[in-house]
Amino acid sequence: MTGELIYEVKNVSKRYGSVVALDGASLKLHAGEVIGLVGDNGAGKSTLVKVLSGAHKPDGGQIFLDGVERVWESPRGALEAGVETLYQDSSLAAHLTVSENVFLGREKFKSGFLGWLGFLDRKTMIREAQEDLEKVGIAFPSANRPVSQLSGGQRQAVAIGRAVSWASKVIILDEPTNHLGARQAGEVLQVIRAAKAKGLGVIFISHTLPHVLQVTDRIVVLRLGRIVKDTPTSEYNVDTLLGTITGAIQTIKVEGD
């Protein structure tokens, strides 16, 4: 079902002042695989996401994409390599339109001299944004409306559509089903399955454990900056997963290889 190893972090650590946010975490992601990243608040999930997406540079450890070691100086490097990230709550600029958000950082320009000056080809961007979002299977309003006029669910749909349509290797989704109704959350899970079918590697971070159990192949549990368990999803139910996250159920530390 899952393909080759595409994304790997080995023994990464990150500290903020005296706070150790990540303490030697290792993770492997294969093509066509969905892994769930779970843990209590402060377990280091968001820090790991920022390391994986290039937003933060780890203090130690290595990152490999397709077997090649990479150092992300900024999110741009990761984006260009095909690693897309949906950050919790803040991936969109609310004052910009849907199409401007979808194309932000990857604009289409007019041809010739005007394009050289940076003048934008808005018509093409609006049309293509509309097509891209439709392809991802997201119901959405006009791509020329400001994001501030959309509902929370619509915003999330645009953010996910943006990530999925640009990703060529890996998508990292940090709490994508937060604040969503049951039907909208179901749509997000459907989008994740579609991304998996396309052969992308997906990292899904969520506090909503039933969603994690529904859509993932493997679950990685973080506690206090360490990965305490990394096993197939089939070994869990909601209760055992919750117990593992909180530490009520004893775990054996997985050695970083």
Binding site: P75, L79, Y87, L92, A93, H95, L96, L120, P141
Partner: protein
């Protein structure tokens, strides 16, 4: 960007008057015409004169340059308090070069002054860019909030302008024809003088870059959500450096504008103009929170500012009231913004 997006995706309903009434630009056009009528009546017709319009536009031409740069800075989520001092400093630096170094004085005038004035223009713009880069350095690298960073350069630039000029205006070469209405083939293009025309063209180009090009898009994106902009791969610091450099360059251009009007580089030529520029931006509907604003609003805001100041003089009001009136206009404009904001949130 046009307002046509208002119409898309909405089921046809009865005429929607709200956007028209709450659109800051249409309010401004309305206020400008109403005030013109009021001033005309109360001044006994004196206000409605091409010469008055000429004066308003000549004042407008200087501050609108500052306000345009300020618009970019404010949309990006910052503020640039140093623009007024930069006007003074750049004019003084140009004066020092022409008067003290090249030993030119006001006897070099008209056609003979063109070459030194072009040099002065270059010097002014470079001085402005230098101040802008200092601002960007303080904001990006030293991590000082823009308000404090540019407050520091406001003081620094004003001080340098006094030191380098010796506290006195440096009178140098000039071409006063640049300030008079353009005459083309015997026809006066009044109220357009050469310098007002240069300002107008600069503003139009800046507006195109703000609303139609990537430069503007990144400016809005950073002001709207700097984290999202960075996550989308935008080099936020590099873009902000450009934004402050543009504001500085336009302030330098305004410094040359002031020099051309006065015929000298004066250490006080830009004093207080930062507030006029910020007032124009705010009256024009740009939010100090960043992320939104329109160039047209800034143009109209700057025009309204000088229409009111000019008009009050024409109807015989004590000029000392000017500042009070401007203060009320700023408060009113921000009030309207707040009203619009709360309407939208509903």
């Amino acid at each position: 960007m046009t307002d046509s997006k208002q119409a898309t995706g909405v089921a046809p309903r009865s005429f929607n008057w709200k956007p028209l009434v709450t659109n800051q630009s249409s309010i401004l056009v309305f206020v400008i015409f109403v005030l013109a009528a009021v001033f005309t009546v109360y001044s006994g017709g004196k206000f409605w004169d091409i010469a008055v319009f000429n004066n308003i536009l000549t004042d407008w031409g200087l501050v609108v340059l500052l306000a345009v740069g300020q618009t970019f800075v404010v949309i990006s989520g910052g503020i640039d308090l140093s623009v007024g001092s930069t006007v003074s400093l750049s004019g003084v630096v140009a004066g020092v070069v022409m008067v003290n170094w090249m030993h030119l004085d006001l006897s070099v005038s008209n056609e003979a002054a063109i070459a030194p004035l072009l040099l002065a223009l270059l010097i002014c713009v470079l001085t402005g860019i230098a101040v802008g880069l200092v601002n960007a350095f303080l904001v990006n690298t030293v991590n000082i909030v823009p308000f404090i960073a540019t407050l520091a350069t406001l003081g620094g630039a004003a001080g340098l302008a006094i030191i380098w000029s010796g506290g006195m205006p440096l009178q140098g070469p000039n071409f006063y024809g640049l300030v008079n209405p353009i005459v083309l083939g015997g026809v006066s293009l009044s109220p357009f003088s050469f310098i007002v025309l240069v300002s107008t063209i600069t503003v139009l180009i800046a507006g195109l870059f703000l609303h139609r090009a990537r430069f503007g898009l990144y400016t809005y994106a950073i002001g709207s959500n700097a984290f999202a902009a960075k996550a989308a791969g935008i080099n936020v610091k590099r873009h902000l450096t450009w934004v402050y450099a543009v504001s500085g360059a336009l302030s330098g251009l305004a410094g040359m504008y002031a020099y051309t009007r006065l015929g000298s580089g004066s250490p006080s030529s830009g004093a207080g103009f930062e507030l006029q520029a910020i007032a124009a931006v705010v009256i024009g509907g740009t939010s100090l929170m960043g992320g939104s604003g329109k160039m047209v609003g800034t143009l109209l805001g700057a025009f309204l500012l000088y229409e009111v100041q000019s008009g009050l003089l024409m109807v015989g009001m004590d000029p000392n009231w000017k500042q009070v009136i401007v203060a009320f206009m700023i408060a009113g404009a921000v009030g309207v913004q707040g009203f619009n904001f709360s309407q939208r949130r509903k």
